[in-house]
């Protein structure tokens, strides 16, 4: 289902058109942003976003990534999981099973919008997990941006970060001598009960990629990651993201996001790997 109450703005000079819409079943409406390619689309990707606070921390970056790829002939559909971002649902409705289902809904919506165009599964941070599942199920090329390889390790990072924030005198100057108490079922403000923590802890990108490889031995995996990170052995291409552009997820604040020339080069490397580039 889509719903708009105003026609999209006319295309602006230098910017590809994007359109907001809700998609999916009436009882599970997902907020989507479709960005058309400039000119005929040679490929299109569905972008599975990061989870929790990393969703809003990464939002502008991923919007700019989509905009730059659109200028290079690649359409996209970004979306928010049910219970997150602008999608419907209370945050308590956010589950990992829901995440995987929502990624499938978003892929269907993208295929509906650009019929016949080669599709790509794209995941950022924890969004790598549903993207890998999409790649496996639909035999799609897979692009990953700073993927999380180990759910348990990430959970440990979040727990440590949560403790740091609760004790931070920058965040709570009037805190006195004791940190703020931990909140039941929450991590860094996001709802994360024991059941969800267990699901996250069980996630392994290696495992998901092995499944994808078993479905398609020629899995086309491209990874943009921190230049300090070990390259994924399964990747056909590893694009080194400058460390200065890779640390956005490590702090709960948000500064202005720009696509600097080195980051633009990373995005362009993905564009060159997209289907249809060889034919140009």
């Amino acid at each position: 289902m889509t719903a708009t109450i105003a026609p999209p703005a006319p295309e602006r000079a230098g910017e590809a058109l994007h359109e907001f819409a809700f998609a999916g079943a009436p009882d599970r409406r997902l907020f989507t942003v479709f960005r058309a390619a400039r000119g005929p689309a040679r490929a299109a990707f569905v972008l599975c976003p990061p989870f929790f606070h990393e969703q809003f921390l990464s939002y502008r970056l991923l919007s700019l990534v989509a905009a730059r790829l659109a200028e290079r002939g690649i359409a996209s559909l970004r979306f928010d999981y049910y219970g997150s971002g602008d999608s419907w649902g209370d945050e308590t409705a956010f589950t990992l099973d829901g995440v995987f289902a929502d990624a499938g809904t978003a892929l269907d919506e993208l295929a509906r919008r650009v019929p016949g165009v080669p599709l790509i599964a794209f995941g950022a941070r924890a969004g790598a997990w549903p993207a890998a599942r999409l790649a496996q199920r639909h035999r799609l090329p897979l692009w990953l941006w700073q993927p999380l390889t180990d759910g348990r390790a990430w959970l440990d990072e979040l727990v440590a970060m949560d403790a740091r924030e609760r004790a931070s005198r920058l965040r709570y100057p009037f805190i006195g001598t004791q940190p703020k108490p931990a909140e039941a079922d929450r991590l860094l403000a996001s709802y994360c009960p024991a059941s969800l923590r267990a699901q996250i802890a069980a996630q392994s990108l290696d495992g998901l990629l092995a499944e994808a490889r078993s479905a398609d031995a020629a899995l086309d995996l491209r990874v943009v990651d921190d230049e300090r990170a070990a390259p994924l052995p399964q990747a056909r291409q590893h694009v080194a993201l400058p460390a200065a552009a890779a640390g956005w997820h490590a702090r709960i604040d948000l500064r202005a996001t720009f696509i600097t020339p080195p980051v633009a080069a990373c995005i362009d490397a993905l564009a060159q790997a997209a289907p249809g580039e060889e034919a140009k």
Partner: protein, 260 residues
């Protein structure tokens, strides 16, 4: 039952409109970006607030301003862009009065828009401008003393440390009026009977540490019936804790009843 739909206001303004099921003639709320955080707000604060206000019978637009979220880069005067957005909201959904503002830079922008556009009847200011002044120093002292023994070391350090260049802070990053102008401007808003809700958190401790600062900053207009002020020193700037967000939604909802 509430409805949500994407809304393109043109001029780079894109957002999501949350509406009650029944048409309303109440003022439409416009939640501006908190700094560089996209329209859903920090930890989805704007989504929760929009839905809570819609349940009270208000329509609410959460919107990306130029340079934030999905909006194109900033090109000119954001105040003019929002005012043209008001025009379009009037044409699209019949809104002719607005409550505007939000957190941090959204409060700064809301302030300027409220002054520039008489269609604004309510102004939500979360961690807005304040002048430091003497009360700030009193608050700082109280803050340090509350930290126990470590405060003495901090205080001694301040007197013995070599002077360094001042750090970049809110005064450099935010779009604030001069002290004298702020007083006059609040007076103008009060004269128009604009409802103002100013809430300061502990997260604003770099420039706000004592509740007396509010009156010291803005002067006599702060005593007007249409001005509400609260100070929550235990709360952080982004309302990270769920009980702080719940308390915020409750406080804004209570204040919003004045516009029903």
């Amino acid at each position: 039952m509430i409805e949500e739909a994407p809304l393109d206001l043109g001029h780079g303004l894109t957002g999501v409109l949350t509406r009650p099921a029944q048409p309303t003639r109440r003022p439409l709320w416009v939640l501006l970006n908190a700094g560089f955080i996209p329209r859903s707000g920090p930890f989805r604060m704007h989504v929760d607030l929009a839905r809570a206000l819609a349940a009270q019978g208000f329509a609410v637009l959460r919107v990306d301003q130029p340079g934030v979220g999905d909006a194109p880069p900033k090109r000119g005067d954001d105040v003019a862009v929002i005012m043209r957005g008001f025009d379009r909201l009037g044409a699209l959904v019949g809104a002719d009065r607005f409550v505007i503002g939000g957190l941090c830079s959204a409060a700064d922008q809301g302030w300027k828009i409220a002054l520039a556009d008489e269609r604004v009847c309510g102004l939500l200011l979360l961690d807005p401008y304040a002048h430091r002044g003497a009360w700030f120093r009193v608050g700082q002292l109280q803050l340090l003393l509350g930290r126990g023994a470590s405060a003495l070391k901090t205080l001694l350090g301040r007197f013995t440390r070599r002077k360094r260049a001042p750090a970049i802070g809110d005064g450099n990053m935010r779009d604030w009026p001069a002290l004298a102008a702020a007083r006059v401007e609040l007076g103008r808003l009060v004269a128009r009977e604009v409802g103002v809700f100013a809430l300061y958190t502990g997260g604003a401790a770099a420039y706000f540490t004592h509740r007396a600062q509010f009156a010291a900053t803005f002067g006599a207009p702060t005593a007007a019936a249409c001005v509400r002020f609260e100070y929550w020193p235990d709360c952080d700037h982004m309302f990270m804790r769920v009980q702080d967000r719940a308390r915020l939604l409750q406080a804004i909802g209570d204040w919003g009843r004045a516009f029903a």
